[in-house]
């Protein structure tokens, strides 16, 4: 990787949280506890990558993104994004990035979407010609015309997300941070957003860091994933390798042609049995072909399915 666009070294963020926040006591009269949301994370992301940032609820994904976008000041460690320290040079930094939080909205709530976009043109000082080009492109890619003149408050969740994506990219940022951009959206809306992200990455070389709990997002968009848990990196590498390394056992589902009192085969363990159907689990040391051979010597088989562990299984094992 030549000169990473995002570089974290032992990045750490702790929060002080009140133990009994419902009490009406003043800050100094409460008991506090320190929560380490991000715990010495190091990583580097290169220009043009689309990286999935995964982890269970409370893993520290949003907190990391808030530091990378300059919203939060790190407690310890170093962080450089496009050569800058985000929180120290907030304004220069944010001028070069695009950010979408799936649960938030950047647009002016009571103004038509188009007016918000026009305001952002001034906020980011986008040259008018460039703005017009981008607007035309995004109108096509995100079908903005469907709601461009409606105020943000009247948009559906999917439309709001499309509008926010357009808003985040009007100023040609080189980097796009997406924190759960598909949350709460239906399948069609999700597809549209994924297609857009793919297109923006391909067409403009925008680097994308994306968090999500929908693994189809990851499968369709990311070659590389970073998995964190309790604020620590658990995995950083190719998506394909994640499943191979941590995916665990494969499953062989067998439908027998007959009722057998007992079914067993060496090299695999019986996981479940229901009527004539049985599911065996087997590790990487055994091939599916060998198992099927052994089974068919002993029993009459009606049907077979081999299931590879998917990312979901893999992550479930990791969390």
């Amino acid at each position: 990787m030549t000169q990473p666009i995002i570089a974290l070294e032992n990045l750490t963020k702790t929060f002080r949280v009140a133990l009994k926040p419902e009490g009406r006591s003043l800050p100094w009269a409460r008991t506090w506890k320190t929560v380490t949301a991000v715990d010495a994370i190091s990583l580097a992301i290169g220009r043009g990558e689309v990286v999935g940032y995964l982890g269970p609820n409370g893993a520290g994904k949003s907190t990391t993104i808030k530091m990378m976008t300059g919203i939060l000041t790190p407690t310890a460690g170093t962080l450089r994004v496009a050569g800058r320290v985000p929180w120290r040079e907030r304004r220069q930094h944010v001028a070069g990035i695009g950010v979408v939080f799936g649960q938030r909205n950047t647009l002016w709530w009571d103004l038509p979407v188009q007016e918000s976009l026009d305001l952002l043109r001034h906020v980011y000082r986008v040259p008018p010609a460039r703005f017009a080009e981008n607007l035309t492109r995004f109108r096509a890619l995100l079908d903005l015309d469907e709601f461009r003149f409606k105020p943000a408050r009247d948009l559906s969740l999917g439309q709001l997300m499309r509008a926010n994506l357009a808003a985040a990219l009007m100023h040609d940022p080189g980097l796009l941070f997406l924190d759960e951009p598909t949350i709460g959206l239906d399948v069609v809306a999700k597809d549209r957003i994924r297609a857009f992200i793919r297109e923006i990455n391909r067409e403009r070389g925008v680097t994308v860091l994306l968090t999500t709990h929908d693994l189809s997002d990851i499968e369709q968009l990311c070659e590389r994933v970073i998995v964190i848990d309790h604020g620590r990196t658990r995995y950083d590498g190719a998506l394909s390798e994640l499943v191979e390394r941590y995916g665990g056992d494969r499953a062989l589902q067998v439908d027998f042609a007959d009722d057998y009192a007992e079914v067993a085969v060496e090299g695999a363990t019986l996981e479940s049995r229901e009527g004539r159907r049985a599911v065996f689990r087997f590790g990487r040391g055994v091939t599916a072909a060998a198992l099927i051979g052994r089974l068919s010597e002993r029993y009459t088989l009606a049907d077979l399915t081999v299931r590879e562990p998917d990312i979901e299984d893999t992550l479930r094992r990791m969390y």
């Binding site: 300059g70 939060l72 938030r104 906020v123 980011y124």
Partner: protein, 264 residues
Amino acid sequence: MIFIRLASATLRAQARYRASLLVDALSALAGNGLEFVALALTFDRFGSLAGWSMGQVAFLWGLTEIAFGSMDMLFGGFDPAVFGQHIRRGTLDMYLLRPVNLIAQIFASDIMLRRLGRIAQGALVFAYANHVLALAWTPAKLLYLPVVLVSAVLFYGALFIAGATASFWTVQGLEVVNVFTYGGTALNSYPLPIFDRWLRRFFTFVIPTAVVVYYPALYFFDLPDPLGLPGWVSFLAPAVGLGALGMSLLVFKWGLRHYTSTGA
């Protein structure tokens, strides 16, 4: 300038609520006006308040209301209750993601036109005070009046900003802050001598709201301070207003470094 654009966007967004805006403004005019009428009625029975005539108290009241109303309109984004919402709803995060000075964005985020009702009420009471007092306005006094008004706006604004800063840490503590902001300004509407000694000292020396309205009023009335402070205290208002604003902005910037966003 980007500030003007953001501010006019805020005003345009408010246009949708034009009807409720008018109702709010009128009810503030009536509500605060009634408070003053209640005060006036007590004068009817007692004749004076700590030796102050009805007209003099109306002068204080009007000045305070104009200043506080204007401040509330212009510094609306820093109103601790509003600012607390910005934090909880994550709007502050959105502001931090824009390459525009944060304080300018907060100013532009809320311009409460409905406060015009309160300002109008203050102006009416002030006009009435001038009518009954028949003050001898010298050019110096006429020049100093707007200076006092602006100083009071800045000073009250500083209280709002300090209160907003507190909401970086606490939601519940807001009531404490309100004691200083609303309490301090309510106090300005009455002659200082009617208050308890420790309260007077607190609001003269610690949070000097008395210096921005009460003492300048003494100058306009050509009265010595019954509490014994020298005459030049009446001219400290601009220094106190600017100083307080500067300090509150510093504290705000320091608080921002401790901002922790919300956990969603």
